[in-house]
Symmetry: D2
Subunit: 374 residues, 4 copies
């Protein structure tokens, strides 16, 4: 693995490194960690990398690595930069035959997303998008229950992703704006891109259904606020089910409350990221049940996801690591010429859908919440 971004001090860089190496299947061999060469090298040094594989920028890295002999050069690139710096390195990596792991949202525009989609398809490469919450074993259990028909026909979805960290940030430090609040770096969506796409992806991942149209009412709370940091969205799904999404970065006191409820004709599931090791399942005709990782009644393929026995909580890093593990398993299988039935990680197609979702929401909001198709 070669890394783009993730210099010292970067939160996401450290997360990607811990997650990717947790299972001993991925090794970090090079990086363009920062636009500042010195900082890039310093980061590499702290990670025990040789200096010559700490590059000045992603262009240098991809070019030089692609000239190294197979087995020595990196196999894939992991892109952990701010949103506006995803497309170029991803495109170049794919063009040079490298597989890609990329943070979300994938690109700033739908056109960019489609370019990557086509490259992946044409060059027969793998592309993983780190919608990390799909790596949670209880999310996978929910998905397996839907797939297996346990819940019956899906009729209703409720999802919210609520954070409160911008409550005071913008009021008090309007000058030191985080990049997520800057349209030139974040894209047309603020909370939409940062957390809304996670919610959208989670809905589709669990239900196996696409959202077909949305009606959005966004808010920009705080002085000099250019991008949405709050919003409510109605949505309709391909099978006729309806849903509502709420997202916020100004939900005072919330830490990272991604929660989803999915109602079928026979049963329903409820999952909260902050209490990620319990899946609550309510039935039309039986008492409510609580499923736990590696616990009683878990589907075999979900049980296999757990690294430790039931009752020993796994958290955010382990879920994140599952994206990398599944990607690595797929990569190794592909290298050996094998085909996997269900690689089980978000792909470039999810990435395109996520960018479409952002743009549709912004459009709907600008039209006073008119319905917009995805």
């Amino acid at each position: 693995m070669g890394m783009v971004g993730g210099g010292i001090g970067s939160f996401m860089g450290g997360v990607h490194r811990k997650a990717s190496t947790m299972d001993g299947m991925v090794e970090l061999v090079c990086g363009a960690f920062s636009s500042n060469l010195e900082k890039s090298r310093e980061t590499g040094k702290s990670l025990y990398l040789p200096q010559h594989r700490c590059y000045e920028n992603f262009r240098e890295m991809i070019e030089k690595e692609s000239r190294l002999p197979e087995g020595e050069r990196m196999d894939f690139v992991s892109i952990v930069t701010p949103n506006h710096l995803h497309f170029e390195p991803a495109k170049m990596a794919l063009e040079h035959g490298f597989h890609v792991v990329c943070d979300k949202p994938m690109t700033l525009t739908v056109a960019e997303g489609k370019t990557l989609e086509k490259l992946v398809e044409n060059n027969k490469l793998l592309f993983a998008l780190t919608h990390n919450y799909t790596g949670n074993s209880m999310v996978k259990q929910a998905r397996a229950m839907v797939k297996n028909g346990d819940l019956g026909e899906i009729r209703k979805v409720q999802v919210h992703y609520l954070q409160g960290w911008m409550t005071n940030e913008l009021d008090e430090q309007a000058t030191t704006k985080p990049w997520r609040a800057d349209p030139s770096k974040s894209g047309v969506g603020g909370s939409l891109g940062d957390i809304g796409t996670h919610a959208e992806n989670l809905v589709s991942y669990i239900t196996g259904l696409k959202i077909t149209e949305i009606a959005a009412d966004l808010a920009r709370i705080g002085p000099q606020r250019l991008l949405d940091n709050d919003g409510n969205i109605l949505f309709r799904m391909e099978n006729g089910a309806k849903g509502a999404m709420s997202m916020s970065q100004i939900a005072t006191g919330e830490e990272n409350d991604l929660s989803i409820r999915i109602y079928g004709s026979k049963g329903s599931v409820q999952w909260r990221q902050e209490d990620s090791t319990r899946l609550f399942v309510k039935w039309a005709d039986r008492p409510e049940q609580i499923f736990t990782p590696d616990g009683n009644g878990i589907y075999d393929q979900v049980r296999a996801v757990s690294r430790i026995p039931n009752g020993h909580p796994e958290g955010y890093l382990e879920a994140f690591a599952n994206i990398y593990r599944n990607f690595a398993v797929h990569l190794m299988a592909t290298m050996e010429g094998k085909t996997l039935a269900d690689p089980d990680y978000p792909t470039v197609n999810d990435g395109v859908r996520g960018v479409r979702f952002i743009h549709a929401a912004v459009e709907s909001d600008s039209k006073n919440s008119a319905w917009v198709s995805l």
Copy 2:
């Protein structure tokens, strides 16, 4: 108190009787419990009422009672019939000088609601609408915290009211439709009237803010379904805050999940009816707190609502009884010529607003979720 409706076998009749008499301030003295005189008398007998005060219908009751000497005749009428039978008895009672307690939604049409509103005003009578959830002490604590400015400026509201009892009911017994699914008895709203108005009222009760416009996407799930039994609603409030509401009678496995979250600039509150004795308060700058009835940190006027010491749960009946108790306190004060600062129960004005809400939601839904003013 004289009762209209609530014959043997009626759920709400029993609830109103238990709630109204819990504090020894209200006595049931007469009733028109059923359109069937025999059943009305049988009901009265089981309640130890003399036969001559068990009437054939509300007209007879109001007429005959109004001819009894003061002190002997009933002081107010409690109306616990299906929705379409609220208006006529309420109107007649008010016209004859009786105060009224009425179940929600108040009337089928806004015009009817305004008629009652005018009668209450002109005849200087009291009118309580039994939005019983506002009787919960933790709801009152939330309201007091907003009023006192503890939460800062209100920015965001999320509310849902989810039940699952219609999941199978309509599929399997499409012939024996409950009255709540029958437009001639329930009005233009199904879940809107039954539970949506509770949610709408709760939002205004706690925040002290009115909803000014809504955009609704309703669903009618199941065969031969004429009224909404599910829906999602965006709303905007008079201070600019935005919100989302979800309601359902087909949320499989849900019992009576009325839940609300209110986010202010300084803090937020979360309350769930099914866990009604805990109010979760999250702060921008302090750890989350849990408030409990009669517990530490409760406002004095909220503490006074509790009938038993902290840690001894009060439930649905006690909350319902608080509506009657506050109404009775107000009634006695009024009879003695006194004025109360904050009678603290939902009134005929709330009733009009609730009916408006139902009609606006139906209109918005028919216009593909266009915004409609209340």
Copy 3:
């Protein structure tokens, strides 16, 4: 019903009155509410009782009432006085042919308890002890599951009853000691009598098993403290199962945390009074389940206990009322010469066992926690 104790200002008096009359099966007709005749009459007046049936003391009440004609006189006496004032009125009532409802702990000494037990048996009267927590429907569901063998053989019990109200009380107001801290009124046990007996009774009620021996380590925390206000107790049950009990009135911040866990060979149940409407059931081979009053999977006889549909919480008063309702049903059946299969309320035998438990714990504690048989 005639009441002994419960004058204005008494917490338990109000609870007993609300609970006994909730279902319209019991009517309060007379009382000796206070040792002060004026206060007794004032209490009676506030309850709409005629002055001549507000007595100066229980002796006068029992004597005069027993001379009234049947149908007019009270049927049973409800005793809600402090512990040291239970025995005399209970004894006199039973001797005069009145049935009795009595607060717990039943008496100060085992000898007194046995006297009452013999009177009940010889005079063929009914005697209910208000261990009110057994009135909760989820406690009844737990009991039904044990009885039906759902949990297999009972192997382990954990129970605690933790309150914090004495944390500061005694430190700061050592002079105005509550009667529960006064050995002459409370008996040899402090927290043992007030809350420990509830825990002991709950264990036996749910498991159907008696505690056979205990080893106690009690604490008296705070200055000038004469009675235990904290303690831990090991116990062994008649089938060989072992358990541990913890009780406290100085568990800072606790309100009324009575919690029990019962482990069988097939499954286990967990119930918390402060979250009384949920019963958590864990299985050896299936996912955990949550049972709720009137919810899916509830035994029929337990469902019958609920006054309102599932999802509408019932609380402390409703559970308390279930003791009175079951007693009243039994009383009416007895008056009609019928026999009930399972009257389902704590009796004079439970009362004797409770007093034995208190004395055994005090003895064990005085012998440095040696095991003492019950």
Copy 4:
């Protein structure tokens, strides 16, 4: 790091490896993973270790490694074998100047424990005992609050550690006994050593107080059961506080429920391992609070423990990794000749106390729960 034990298929071996390497501070360089050389080599191969550093047994490893030049040889040994195989490798490692990380319980006998204690002291080496639950940040917050006096004087402790995995195991497969049920491998304690010592250590870690005497009632449930798999223990602490402990491996349906409640004169804390990211704090005079890792109100030194921002749960592995991280930080400081104020990990002294606790409990149980000093 060199590892003793932890061959392919071993649960604890994998945990120690993931935990030790999570922060990039520790590298596995050699191991004696199995008593079977082939298996040891196979394990090493899967971990990318050179074959010559996969040893046949710990003797060979310690001898050969100690002959390697500094900088090349391992710095410390991590011992992850069954209980009876801790003492010999630990002793030999310490004698050869290697620091040690060892699983708990440290040794089978108190004498062995004291031998190690003396070696550590005399040879000025570091010794970490992996009581991993003390690595949780909410446990550290609880400890900091006690230390800072937030809770006042500690008065009462309740702790339990309940698992259910032996419920069926022994009944059905009495022949394939796990080593934890075999006295020759597990020592005199069964559940005492496996989970009881965790509970004992947690009590002391948080309160800063030692347990001075205990009274135990143990159970051996299931056919042919030689060691305790359930038990209840009364205990007294050096400051006079009293407590109760319950532990079980036959608590049907429990996964890994380690829970502790600590009551002080001003406030109390409650923590559950299965919900490890929330610390509930109840106060004598304020509403209950919930603390979260990296959340509002956390002590600085506790905040530093979190690898990711608040709301992103960390789990069992991360807590385990904190033991290794703090040990590694201490080790590096020591190597550089520095002294750390509070290294903050369990040591050889905790190990001796744990073994004493096991033996005292067995002795008390054999004397019908008489008090035994530690």
